[in-house]
């Protein structure tokens, strides 16, 4: 279901926020139950339904604070500022009163185009352009209606400006916060006209980032900074070869390290459960493991390069063909052949991967910097044996994402849930930098062979491009719409849609199956 299918009356459902205030919300019954604020892990306080619900884009408190609930992950691209700008613009809010909070996971927070809650593809601001502005405009209209009721004047005689509703003829003004309780009792408007772009005060203007101050004094919370009561820190010894399995394990020396509480075999490898990162790492160094390297034992970069180079000389599945490229090449005055290679690339975010999991019999709470909330929640639920609605993800700030934190396989979330299941205590799984570089889910290695032909005047008349590399969508939930006729669109993006008008052109693709996760 895409968010555009949400019933309008649901979208506009409003209610009173805890302690008073106006809530412009989406109707989300399943999460009205209980919630922990993402901003204060460890200081969880459960709240009653229909009070402080998480199901909102905007919360206006009686103290004039406006909280914008952001359904996108902040990883440096600025969504914790750009999306509030959309709301503040239409709301006529005082920018200095805006605070942000990360949204819980729910379908109502799904990407308007992709239908799942996620951040990626440079789509956040464009895809939320209308929805966030409408949320702001709705709140403004209701605040004006509240003031109109208070002052017994027509709403058309009022305007909102910088966090206040103003009645110019009488000079009266009321702050949004002072109107919030009354506004919360009113019926949301049917028509929510949006501003003409020429009237924008914030949008299009350089605006200071809301998240900057917290990033200058150490208070910004990334996933790695999360501490919850009773939490153990875990590092995992993963197989030296992708797909390897533990043959035998001797954990005696590891368990003897001060601070190491347990050593557990988990699907990802061997997990060292300790009181902190350092003892966990020291413990891991003491593990004695014999590995079965499995089907990828013989895999090597040299072997793959040779395989790819050979494949590149043969035609793959044709992604695009125009004219007669073979004929045009044969008849060209001059041809040029070039081969290009790029290696596997680790995303290498500054903040190594990490995931905090508190798994209980009937619920699972996760704190992590992810770009893929819906997918990760489904994966965590399946792993934990819970329903998706029993799993909540608190999205922290991300110390970089670059797509590594948008993994359709949810690798770093699944393994953390598996560890929590085995350890039976809340855990924070930390990847070392070495784990990150060795851990797979790379940008694929590519081998490209291009041939071009020019005519006697030097004009390009032929172009062929054979691409060799693994599919990143194969085997994922995105396969069905991302792969057409065996061709992963992301493998030929920028090549099959080449903009140059070359009369004879062919782009074809080989998709070898290699045991390196990409």
């Amino acid at each position: 279901m895409s968010a555009t299918n949400i019933k309008r009356r649901d979208f506009l459902k409003t209610g009173a926020a805890v302690g008073g205030g106006l809530l412009i919300s989406l109707y989300l019954p399943e999460f009205a139950k209980a919630r922990v604020t993402a901003s204060s892990p460890g200081k969880s306080k459960f709240v009653e339904p229909a009070t402080f619900a998480p199901n909102a884009f905007i919360r206006i408190a009686t103290d004039d604070t406006i909280t914008v609930i952001i359904n996108k992950s902040e990883m440096g691209q600025g969504v914790y500022t750009s999306l509030p700008m959309l709301i503040a613009e239409e709301l006529e809010a005082d920018w200095n009163k805006i605070k942000v909070e990360s949204a819980p996971v729910d379908q109502a927070y799904a990407h308007p185009v992709f239908g799942i809650q996620m951040t990626g593809g440079s789509t956040s601001t464009a895809s939320e352009w209308e929805r966030f502005r409408k949320a702001g405009a709705t709140a403004r209209i209701m605040l004006i209606a509240a003031a109109a009721q208070n002052w017994k004047v027509g709403p058309q005689s009022l305007r909102a400006e910088n966090g206040n509703v103003i009645h110019a003829p009488s000079g009266r003004r009321a702050s949004f916060g002072s109107l919030a309780n009354l506004a919360a009792t009113l019926t949301p408007p049917k028509d929510v006209p949006l501003k003409d772009p020429k009237d924008f005060k914030l949008i299009g203007k350089p605006t200071r980032r809301l998240d900057t101050p917290a990033k200058l004094n150490g208070s910004a919370q990334f996933g790695l900074d999360v501490q919850i009561p009773g939490m153990m820190t875990v590092v995992i010894l993963r197989p030296p070869v992708f797909g390897g399995k533990v043959l035998s394990l001797n954990a005696e020396k590891a368990k003897a390290v001060a601070g190491v509480k347990d050593v557990l075999q988990v699907p990802a490898g061997v997990a060292v459960i300790a009181t902190g990162f350092w003892p966990a790492k020291l413990g891991r160094e003491q593990l004695e493991v014999k590995w079965d390297d499995g089907p990828n034992a013989g895999l090597s970069t040299a072997g793959m390069r040779q395989q790819y180079a050979t494949l590149a000389k043969t035609q793959g599945l044709v992604a695009r063909k125009v004219g007669d490229p073979a004929g045009a090449l044969a008849g060209a005055a001059k041809t040029i052949t070039a081969e290009y290679e790029v290696p596997y690339l680790a995303h290498a975010m500054m903040e190594p991967l990490n995931c905090v999991v508190d798994l209980r019999a009937d619920r699972c709470e996760i704190w992590t910097g992810t770009q893929f909330q819906t997918v990760d929640r489904m994966a965590a639920a399946t792993t934990a044996g819970l329903k998706p609605e029993q799993v909540q993800i608190h999205t922290t700030l991300l110390g970089g994402g670059f797509g590594r934190r948008a993994n359709p396989a949810s690798d770093f979330v699944i393994e953390a849930v598996q560890v929590a299941k085995a350890a039976k205590v809340p855990v924070k799984v930390v990847w070392t930098r070495e784990d990150d570089i060795r851990g797979g889910w790379y940008r694929p290695m590519w081998y490209d062979r291009l041939r071009g032909g020019v005519d006697a005047n030097g004009n390009p008349i032929a172009w062929t491009h054979t691409i060799v590399g693994q599919s990143i969508l194969q085997g994922t939930m995105f396969e069905q719409f991302g792969i057409k006729n065996g061709i992963d669109g992301s493998s030929v993006e920028g090549a099959a849609d080449l903009l140059y008008g070359i009369a004879n052109l062919q782009v074809d693709l080989h998709t070898p199956k290699i045991g390196v996760p990409v």
Binding site: E74, M75, G76, Q77, G78, R208, R209, D211, T212, P213, A214, K215, L216, N217, G218, S219, A220, Q221, F222, L224, D225, Q227, T233, A258, G259, G276, F277, W278, P279, A348, M349, M350, E351, P352, L397, L398, G399, G400, G401, F402, V430, T432, R433
Partner: protein, 156 residues
């Protein structure tokens, strides 16, 4: 038990003396502003001051920090008032922000030593701090700006 002086406060940590200072700051003392990036003094995310000198806390044994003045990002100023913090806000330097604690601590040590650094001084002084978002041009501008603020009497 090791006694540390962190941001002007005496704090005790019951840890293995070989534990890197980084993990004692982050996990034992709860000062999570200092970041882990590589564990090998290669990225600068863990930079703190030891007696005013910028050091990589991920490779500094906690026992070697005992008795010295340790300053972390949390102690750079009580109120975002350090000239660097002011300049960083003015220029909106951070993106993801993960490396910025380390950037600021390195910049603070640089500025303490050289109140008017040139581009070359900045590039050299900051070379050990990696930013994956690529905020380097703004970092450089902000250090120049901080030098101005400091010269105008904004220093503490």
């Amino acid at each position: 038990m090791i006694t540390l002086k962190v941001n002007g406060k005496q704090l005790n940590a019951d840890v293995d003396p070989a534990t890197p200072l980084l993990w004692v700051l982050r996990e034992t003392l709860g000062l999570t502003g200092t970041k882990y990036g590589c564990g090998m003094a290669l990225c600068g995310a863990c930079t703190v001051h030891l007696d005013g000198e910028a050091i990589r806390s991920c490779v500094k044994r906690v026992s070697d920090a005992a008795g010295k003045e340790i300053t972390t990002i949390e102690g750079l100023s009580p109120d975002l008032g350090h000239p660097l913090q002011k300049a960083w806000m003015e220029i909106d330097v951070p993106q993801c922000g993960y490396c910025q604690s380390g950037q600021l601590m390195s910049a603070a040590a640089l500025l303490a030593e050289n109140s008017n650094p040139s581009d070359t001084d900045i590039d050299e002084g900051m070379a050990g701090n990696i930013c994956r978002c690529g905020t380097y041009p703004r970092i450089r501008r902000a250090i120049h700006r901080a030098a101005e603020i400091k010269a105008q009497g904004g220093a503490r």
